[in-house]
Symmetry: C2
DNA sequence: GATGTAAATAAGAATCATTCGCATCTAGAA
DNA sequence: TTCTAGATGCGAATGATTCTTATTTACATC
């Protein structure tokens, strides 16, 4: 029940929209997607709640593409491809991140590793 | 000769400073580092030349930390650690990125992979 | 049902990084 | 010398994100 309560309808809608989306939307994109459903939604609410989600570990920041931060509701470590042309952020679902990597990193730099980000960039199928 | 010519003294200084630095500086940090040496340097020149370097593949953008882009003069693929507390960006020099990864990614999404970014985040030694 | 409190929100102002526009300067070619 | 292309400084413009403030909402207590 921690995630969804009746009386944060906007907060819940933002998280739900983010989880539904495969496109790793920006704050602005989320806002546009939700606007029809929630006409009185404001950008401040989107940003504020994204920061809350990030803090709670419900959401990760995947990348910032052309100066715009992109979010992902799938917090399991997974691999991304970012198209330099069109800015698409795509999951590479069939690629795995070996569990050994974070542990190796930790022993390498002597701190606490809490997250791992593996991404490729180049041109996507549509932009070649 | 492509890289260093006598008469782009500021451009050359920016690239040299970036290559010397292990700290993955931001545009602002580069500006501050170079200011004593080049009192009439301007931020516009730093940004302009960083974009030129990036276009020429002389420099990569490692990450954006707290909304600020961080650069690296080492364009060979290598692994980074980003401290969530202090924002430090650290090379994990002893970790390797297997050559197989970019090729696997390419065959996975059917585009052209030109770059690869593997980074970890968490707390660095000093911030634990 | 009335009231208090704490958190959520909308709206817009403010901030900060980055880019742009333009006038000036400089190196080298003609 | 004169001309041209490109580099630069400066300040304004832009755009993403955060902050401020007044308002609203949900719930607890009376």
């Amino acid at each position: 029940m921690a995630v969804s309560q009746k009386h944060f309808p906007k907060r819940d809608a933002i998280l739900q929209q983010l989880r539904q989306s495969k496109a790793h939307p920006s704050a602005e994109t989320l806002f546009q997607l939700l606007k029809p459903e929630i006409p009185d939604l404001s950008m401040g609410t989107v940003y504020r709640n994204l920061n809350i989600f990030r803090q709670q570990g419900l959401v990760i920041s995947v990348a910032t593409v052309n100066g715009v931060e992109r979010f992902d509701g799938n917090t399991a470590p997974h691999v991304h491809f970012i198209c330099d042309d069109c800015g698409a952020v795509i999951d590479l679902e069939s690629m795995e991140i070996p569990d050994s990597l974070p542990r190796a990193a930790e022993s390498c730099m002597g701190g606490q590793v809490s997250g791992c980000n593996l991404s490729f960039n180049g041109k996507c199928k549509n932009c070649i």
